[in-house]
């Protein structure tokens, strides 16, 4: 291999939302700063293709692999292949299923984060003193993240049966116009919907459009405000929180996760022992803790950068 420079393979399963775009960018910048070469590949949610990418990386004799798989089970052969080639592997944001293969995972607890964010909104709902009809925008049913976020949502609202009733579960297939149409139709069927959770902030523009059309786009405190919970912590989500249009948002700590991932690779290369699972607790940002927590929210940092220039 080229003397001196080491190569890290960065294998993502897609760049479908700003979270991943920002994530890969931070990792890329950081690695470059540390003098690594990068071999990038996107699997487009095809675990088989990603397995082939891992083998290509091994053939290329990379010095470490940062991977985002689609399926926690299907990635295990790839880990084994990396183990056999003695190349350290770190999972960014999604852990693999338990197995005897060795790799390090950085995990954001989607379900917990979703639950916490939604719990805040449920409390808001309960305090309002009336019962709210709720809609959830569910992600692609083949995507485990989407499933975990949905489950977190269901757990939270399950604790407030008299404040929140789920009347619409809208499948979006992670598809903007399906989401828009689905929410519009749900609002048509249930004009009283006043509680919305989206499994990803990337649907914010469509939700905005649908709520505006139904005359439900109003800030907190207004009669026709819809209690709105996001997930991911996008810049747009911060913007809405700031404008009092969103009540809470589940935030994955992107900076922390990228930092953990790169550190883990370095430690593994140096032969240190590293925990198999490094947790990003994530957090729910709410109207209550917005000021104190916003610096930890990656979306805020990007938002600040954008709105500065």
């Amino acid at each position: 291999k080229a003397q001196g420079t080491k190569t890290i393979a960065v294998l993502f399963d897609g760049l479908y939302s700003e979270f991943w775009v920002a994530g890969i960018q931070i990792i890329r910048d950081d690695l470059e700063k540390r003098g690594f070469q990068i071999m990038e590949a996107i699997s487009d949610q095809d675990d088989n293709k990603q397995f082939e990418q891992v083998r290509a990386a091994i053939a290329k004799k990379v010095d470490g692999i940062i991977i985002v798989q689609t399926d926690s089970n299907a990635v295990i052969p790839a880990i084994k292949a990396a183990n056999a080639a003695n190349i350290p592997m770190v999972h960014f944001n999604r852990p693999p299923a338990p197995s005897d293969a060795f790799s390090v995972a950085i995990q954001a607890d989607n379900q917990k984060i979703a639950r916490e964010a939604v719990l805040h909104s449920c409390k808001v709902a309960k305090e309002s003193g009336r019962k709210h009809q709720a809609a959830i925008l569910i992600g692609d049913l083949g995507d485990p993240n989407a499933i975990q976020r949905r489950d977190g949502f269901e757990e939270a609202v399950g604790q407030f049966p008299d404040a929140v009733e789920v009347v619409a579960r809208v499948p979006t297939e992670w598809n903007a116009d399906t989401a828009f149409a689905g929410l519009t139709n749900a609002l048509q069927a249930n004009p009283d919907i006043s509680f919305v959770f989206t499994s990803s902030d990337f649907l914010i523009p469509q939700i905005t459009q649908a709520l505006k059309a139904a005359d439900k786009w109003a800030p907190i405190g207004a009669e026709n405000h819809v209690i709105f919970t996001g997930f991911d912590g996008f810049p747009a989500a911060y913007g809405l929180m700031n404008d009092k249009l969103m009540d809470a948002c589940g935030v994955q700590n992107l900076f922390y996760e990228t930092e953990l991932a790169i550190q883990a690779i370095l430690d593994l290369q140096a032969g240190k022992t590293v925990e198999k699972l490094l947790l990003d607790p994530g957090f729910a940002i709410t109207q209550d803790n917005l000021e104190e927590k916003k610096e930890e929210m990656w979306g805020y940092v990007l938002w600040k950068k954008e709105n500065a220039g």
Binding site: S17, V21, I138, A176, D177, N185, Q188, P205, Q209
Partner: protein, 326 residues
């Protein structure tokens, strides 16, 4: 002919509409919100983009070609609009995506006619290329559109929402072009038999080219209506809509082998598909069954159509001797 078989004939001839009515009744029974005027307006608004796209697709299908690139074309033109036409008034934006779409259609058409490559492959390759370019330009980020465009979604003219208006205009134009202009009739002739059309002195290449341009144009316009509704585009934007557009056309009776069908059927097909999705939303169906129900209904509609053609052929078969004698 007997009353019974005449009734059967009538039913068969209108089979897709019968299916539609059955669906309406079924959803209506399951939710009292379904059969509301506002909801039908919703359905048509939601069907508008796909209907516009499918109208363009119909032109290409009529000449026995196919365009798999319309979704990618939508994504690319929308990305260019968001990136390089920020702050323009919406008519300029609309013109930009329409012209952009038409130019992509022109490229498709030129490769098909000049180089003689099968349109399936040309437009499949274009799907990749256009999507790739759009991702490159946008750096796979979500692109937002200004209020000037997103507000259109809530604008109405003479009480007609803008999406429905756009759809009506495109539909009316397409209908007139196909049925009342020389070009339209020649499209049907080329679709039936390109070799015969060439021998009859028709400019087959020019007509083919024009159909691809129209498909591209409609992709641009349909895309514009979509972005006015959803307000932002990401890398999944326009994914697989070519299949929805083809399904809408075929549901409406357009033949994949050229020469048969009409835009009226296509529009009906688009509305049928959106009605199913709307109905499932309205009755809050289990998310897992959406694709199952949608696929089953597309399947059913086309199956009925196939059976219908077969039975109609039999019923309308040439007879050599009067039937009453037999």
């Amino acid at each position: 002919m007997k009353i019974g078989s005449r009734l059967l004939l009538l039913l068969l001839q209108n089979a897709p509409y019968v299916l539609f009515v059955v669906l309406l009744v079924a959803f209506g029974l399951m939710s009292d919100r379904f059969l509301a005027v506002a909801n039908f307006r919703n359905i048509i608004i939601q069907a508008a983009p796909i209907a516009i796209l499918a109208i363009g697709m119909t032109f290409v299908l009529l000449i026995a070609h196919i365009d798999l690139s319309v979704g990618a074309s939508m994504y690319l033109t929308a990305s260019v609009l968001a990136l390089y036409f920020t702050g323009v008034p919406w008519p300029v934006g609309l013109a930009a995506v329409a012209v952009g779409g038409a130019m992509i259609g022109l490229v498709n058409g030129l490769v098909v006619t000049r180089l003689g490559v099968a349109s399936f492959i040309v437009t499949l390759a274009m799907l990749f290329i256009l999507r790739g370019i759009a991702m490159w330009l946008s750096n796979t980020r979500m692109l937002m559109f200004p209020d000037a465009i997103t507000d259109l979604n809530r604008t109405a003219l003479l009480g007609i929402p803008s999406a429905i208006l756009a759809f009506l205009v495109v539909f009316a134009l397409a209908w007139v072009v196909l049925h009342q202009t020389p070009f339209g009739r020649q499209v049907y002739a080329v679709g039936e038999d390109p070799e015969a059309a060439r021998k009859a002195g028709l400019p087959v290449e020019r007509i083919t080219l024009a159909c691809f341009v129209i498909a591209g144009l409609c992709a641009g316009i349909g895309g514009f209506v979509t972005i006015s509704q959803i307000g932002a585009v990401g890398p999944k934007y326009g994914d697989q809509v070519e299949f929805a557009a083809i399904a809408a056309s075929v549901l409406g009776g357009v033949s994949l082998f050229g020469g048969r069908g009409s835009v009226a059927g296509t529009v009906f097909g688009a509305i049928l598909i959106k009605t199913v999705q709307n109905g499932l939303n309205i009755i809050n169906a289990d998310p897992y069954i959406y694709p199952l129900v949608t696929a089953a209904i597309i399947f059913l509609a086309v199956a009925i159509d196939g059976l219908r053609t077969r039975i109609l052929e039999r019923l309308e078969q040439r007879t050599i001797r009067p039937l009453s004698e037999a």
